[in-house]
Every structure is written in C-alpha cells, then in structure tokens.
C-alpha cells in the first residue's frame, strides 16, 4: 500500500524557489500498477525520486505499507530512464546487485536468480557487459534486477521510451508476464498514452507547473487478454488523449 498525502516538492534553482509538485494525493493498493502521464517538466521524475527515497526534502507525507520512505528499511526497485545498469559489471552481476546489497547476510538465492534470467530470456548473455547488448536486452536486465529483489515498490522512469516500437511492445509484454507471476506495486512514468493504458491499472494525469494531479482514471481494461487489439483499447486511448489535450492547454 502506497499512500501519498499533500506532497509538495520545492526546487531551488539559481537562488529562486519554485514548486515542482504541489499538493499531490494518491493511493495505490498492494500489487497495483499505476501509470503517471504528464508533459515534460511537470515533475513526473521528481515524484518517482521522492518515492525512491532519493529526494528527502519535501512537504506532506509519503508512506509505503504505513511507514515513511526509508530505502534501507523497505525494498524499493528503481529503474531510471537509462536503465541504471553499471557499465563495469556484466549482466549476471548487474542482476545480482540489488539482491546483493539488500540481502547482505542471507546467502544468495541461486535458483531465483537463474529463474529470473530464464524468464526474461537472458540466458547466454550472463557474461556480456551492458555496452555489448541491445537496448531491449539492457531493459530486460534492469527488470530482472528489479524483480529478483522482490520489491515492495517498483518504480520505472519512462522505462521503454528509448526502445523502438516493436521492442517496446515486446518488453511491455515481458513486464506484464513477470508481473502476473509476482504482483509488485508499480509506479511507472510515461508519455505514451498507449503504454499507460496497457500497463496501468490506475492512470494518473499530471498537469504542468507546478505539477498537480488533474485526473485519476481506473483502467477497466488492465490485465485483460490481448487488449491491444480490443476496440475499447483504442477508445480509451482516444478519450485519454482528448482529456490530456484539454488538460495541458489550460
């Protein structure tokens, strides 16, 4: 359970103070996914950083399972825009990294590690370095790392935006596949309407400066079989587009 109450984040730039996020209220149930969509500069990434415990200077309250965000106490998986892989670690060590830092004292779960490598189709790439694999594969590695962690909360910052259209759909599929087996509360930031409709049970529209929540939509299509080809999918995307356009032109 993620609960955000009256969250306001101020940025200081060249001595001036301005609000990046203002009065955000949001609740996310256990194992729910939430897609946040908003124009550039509306504070989407800021919101993720607050949830990740990277930004600690804010007003209001942010709770994960009833506790304030403290990265060392909770299990938070964070996938930044560039996937956050360490270039000097091979695929295997990159996947292990999260669990290694988190489970310092308990031994390594080799079986889980091999399962996740298998599940994400990374078998045979274990010894490669990030620069030696494609963007799609890098994204798979980042997902493998996050899911191996068994996080309380998974955060993704425009996770699939750098991929070509076909790879993007494929990885979205992979993500849902893994997510179905291991329902993790997920917040993802995106600027693709289709992605939001495909991956978000909740869709949150943020409006521009300062970032505020303008609409929260419960997505009835989420999780259905083959929804991408469903007429309702197009309808919802269209509707969402319209709403976003109205919203951002205010």
């Amino acid at each position: 359970m993620i609960r955000i109450k009256n969250l306001t984040v101020n940025y200081r730039s060249v001595g001036e103070c301005y609000a990046a996020l203002q009065d955000i209220n949001l609740e996310l149930g256990e194992g729910e996914t939430c897609a946040i969509i908003g124009p550039s500069g509306c504070g989407k990434s800021t919101l993720l950083k607050v949830l990740a415990g990277i930004i600690k200077d804010f007003w209001g309250s942010v709770e994960i399972n009833g506790q304030p965000v403290i990265p060392s106490k909770q299990r938070i998986g964070f996938i930044p825009q560039n996937y956050g892989l360490l270039p000097w670690k091979n695929v295997y060590d990159n996947i292990r990294l999260g669990a290694k830092i988190k489970n310092k004292n308990d031994g390594e779960d080799k079986e889980a590690l091999n399962n996740i490598i298998e599940q994400l189709g990374l078998g045979g790439l274990e010894n490669r370095y990030p620069r030696e694999i494609s963007g799609g594969q890098q994204q798979r590695v980042a997902l493998a790392r996050a899911f191996l962690l068994k996080p309380d909360l998974l955060l993704m910052d425009e996770p699939f935006s750098a991929l070509d259209a076909m790879t993007r759909e494929e990885i979205q599929e992979v993500f849902l596949d893994v997510w179905r087996k291991q329902a993790v509360s997920t917040v993802l930031v995106t600027h693709h309407v289709e992605e939001a409709v495909y991956l978000g049970r909740k869709i949150v529209i943020l409006s521009l400066s300062p970032g505020t929540v303008s609409t929260i939509i419960e997505n009835p299509l989420f999780g259905g079989e083959d929804i991408r080809n469903h007429p309702d999918f197009f309808k919802l995307c269209l509707e969402l587009r319209k709403r976003i356009k109205e919203d951002w032109s205010k």
Binding site: A52, P71, K73, G77, F78, I79, I101, L149
Partner: protein, 246 residues
C-alpha cells in the same frame, strides 16, 4: 595466448624501430660517444647478470614501493574528495598549492631529514605520483553521472556499497592513466636521486659508467632503464585490460 603473442610482437616491433634509428644516428655521427646498438647489446649480454641486474632490481623495487604507497594514500583520498564535497573543499586548496612544487627541489630537504637511504628515494617517487593519482581519481568520481547512484540509493546502499560498486570501478581507468603519466616522471626523478648516496640503482650505474668514460656500459644501463619503463607500462596495460574490460 594468441593475444599476448600479438602484444609481444608489437613491443618487439617498437624495439626494432628504436634500434634502427639508433643505428642510423651512430653511423652518421661516427664517434665513440654514440656506439652502435650491436656493440652495446653485446656488452649488455656480457655484464647483465654479473653487474647490471642488481642495480635494475634496486631501481625497480624503489619504483614499485613508491607507487604502492602512492596508491595506498592517493586512491582513498581521491575517492573521498570526489564523493564528499566537504573533503574536496577542505583538501583541494592544499593539493593545488603543493602539487606544482617541483618535487625534485625538495630532494635536499628530504635527504637531510630522512637520510640518504632508501626512504628518501621512495618518498620522492611517492610525492611525484600521489598528486596525479589523487586528482585523477577525484575527477573520475566527479565525472560519474548522478543517475548512476539512483538505483543504489533507492536500494538503501551504504557508503561502503557505493565505494565498492560504483566509485572504485568508475575511477579505475582514470587512475591507470594517471599512473602512466606519472610513471615516466617518476623514473627520471629516480635516476636523479640514485646519483646521490647510494651504490645501487640504475642512476648510480649509468653515472658511474659515464665518469669512467665507459660508454658501452653507460648505454647498457640506459637500455636497461628503458626496459624497466617498458615492463612497467606493459604491466599497467595488462592490468587495464584485465580489470577495465568493460
């Protein structure tokens, strides 16, 4: 194995070119002060085991010891200065003030305080290398994009995790480059320090041969000194390929 073979071939190739230039100069000048490489190599083979090897080992040990201490001090300092702003603020002015001082100018002082023995020579090499290491490692850490830390911060990684998994590997290439740059200076300064208060070391051997007007031995010493350089640079290259293969 094949890769090592190719590397060795490149080194051999480099040696060959230097020898050819040397031969050409010797023929053109045609004076005893520039003997031909063949004469020198012949002399080198005769006296290497009996005379030069011990001097070479002494020089090598001083360099390795100086580099070792520079690494022990320089890497942790550089990492902390790169990562913690307060360290950088406190220490950078001190580094900037002392870095440009020609270390060789301090030699008389160091010799007076620490004596003419090993310590003053090793300290000299340490002083030359450590600044370059500190600055290179610090800048290497500063150049790490902020985003690299985010996934680790959100995992609740401690300072030790950050050092081990990010700072050390990220700054390694810059550190090795700084070592390469500093190594050449260190060898030439070592040469200078070895002309004082010792009877061992390549510096002593070369100057001694010069005083005795034994040009063949002098050149044999120079050749060995350059081989020591080759070995050191080759070792750094090797380490880089092993640990920075990403």
């Amino acid at each position: 194995m094949r890769e090592i073979g190719t590397r060795l071939w490149y080194y051999f190739y480099g040696i060959l070119i230097v020898l050819m230039i040397w031969q050409a100069v010797a023929i053109v000048v045609n004076l005893p002060i520039i003997p031909t490489p063949l004469l020198v190599l012949d002399n080198l083979l005769n006296i290497f085991a009996s005379k030069i090897a011990i001097h070479g080992l002494y020089s090598l040990w001083r360099i390795v010891a100086g580099v070792f201490f520079a690494i022990i001090v320089g890497i942790p300092l550089g990492l902390c200065m790169g990562y913690f702003k307060s360290w950088d603020k406190a220490l950078s002015p001190v580094i900037y003030l002392t870095y440009p001082i020609p270390k060789i100018a301090l030699l008389p002082v160091i010799m007076l305080l620490l004596g003419l023995g090993e310590l003053s020579k090793i300290l000299m090499i340490f002083l030359i290398i450590v600044f370059q290491v500190i600055v290179a490692v610090r800048d290497g850490v500063k150049g790490i994009p902020k985003e690299t830390y985010y996934p680790l911060y959100s995992l609740g990684a401690g300072v030790f995790d950050i050092f081990r998994d990010v700072l050390v590997p990220a700054s390694l290439p810059k550190f090795l480059t700084s070592l390469r740059v500093a190594m050449a200076t260190a060898i030439s300064v070592l040469f200078f320090t070895e002309t004082f208060g010792t009877q061992y070391g390549m510096g002593y051997f070369i100057m001694d041969a010069w005083m005795r007007v034994n040009y063949l031995e002098m050149y044999s010493g120079i050749v060995i000194l350059s081989y020591i350089g080759l070995i050191l640079f080759g070792t750094i290259d090797y380490i880089e390929r092993k640990v920075c293969c990403w």
